[in-house]
Symmetry: C2
Subunit: 230 residues, 2 copies
Amino acid sequence: MNIILASTSTLFGGQYLEYLKPELEKLFADVDEILFIPFARPGGISHEEYTAKAASFFSTIGKKVRGLHEFEDKAETINQAKAYFTGGGNTFLLVKTLHEEHLMSVLKQNVESGKAYLGCSAGSNIGGVNMKTTNDMPIVYPPSFDCMGLVPFNINPHYLDPNPDLHHNGETRETRILEFLTQNDLKVVGLREGNWIRRIDNRITVEGSQLTRIFEQGKEPYEIESGSEL
Amino acid sequence: MNIILASTSTLFGGQYLEYLKPELEKLFADVDEILFIPFARPGGISHEEYTAKAASFFSTIGKKVRGLHEFEDKAETINQAKAYFTGGGNTFLLVKTLHEEHLMSVLKQNVESGKAYLGCSAGSNIGGVNMKTTNDMPIVYPPSFDCMGLVPFNINPHYLDPNPDLHHNGETRETRILEFLTQNDLKVVGLREGNWIRRIDNRITVEGSQLTRIFEQGKEPYEIESGSEL
């Protein structure tokens, strides 16, 4: 397998996908066209607008982008494609669309066969076992929370440390993930912005500029360094 | 109807339910026992621990509290009770439990018949039309997102304004609610901590120390003052 699951598409003050550019040149080295999956629709933008945004970045490394929404037979389009990028946005909307169109398992099979896959944020959530550690608002009801399981754990993208200055009583991210562990026995990778998971064949590592926080049932949360195997 | 739906149980630096005490003395003036619904389990605490916490507060205003989890026939227990309090925690866990035990509609009918109801946070979300504007993590999969619709809109508890100092690329609360409106034509009440919704018969107002932010399809979000009718 040949996968990047990134916490975010964009670093604070940066341009779309810019910080990942050297990694993406390697991930997509063998292909000249990428199939973009725009269903998460960040901020409610249209599939067309979102695909244009992805295409604009990928043109800077010489790759063509087509949006999956453009095609009638989407399963066949996924089977014919050589590489994939699922953009961020709302995970509930993304997962609902993929399940309703019976595409989750088609995409999984193709990525597991070795085709390159990039996910950012919601697009990374669907690389985990299920979407139960997304940060997104449940704006639509998906027929299932199950995802592709391209890695044997769940991902919490945009992982955020508690802010002791915030005089607010909403749950911290850590509290939410610990609540998840009371109901599910599954490792959660708290992926801070600037970090990504890299899978090459059977080797899975965490990469990027930050430490990564790991949550497991019955253990105190702990930090691992960039380059560590998962 | 006789309902309070509060943004939070606890203000920063305050004690559990303390800021609502004068309101709760009025809400529950005619009853000496309250049925507590502990299923949201904040931080994963047990039903017993959570019920003890609620009972400890309500003893200060002379009310007895029993936990719904203590009873075999839960629907009959709801029908026999004279007043209700649903505590905060994880909305997905709360809604899953209520739907799986077929209690959502039983509770709704009793509250609509005029029995006093207090909800905090997740307990307020279930007073809305559906739970699609909760902030919680989807740690379990409920059979439906539908809620009681005790008010003809949705609630976003713990509403939080964007923090311009936060160098983080996760969505703001406002962005999330605007995404909800791209998929649903339903008013959302962004209820800041310190505020609550008060329904007495057919009159619904927003109360508390803060302004309240309202989101509707096709309009700019706007603020209303404490005491305004909804």
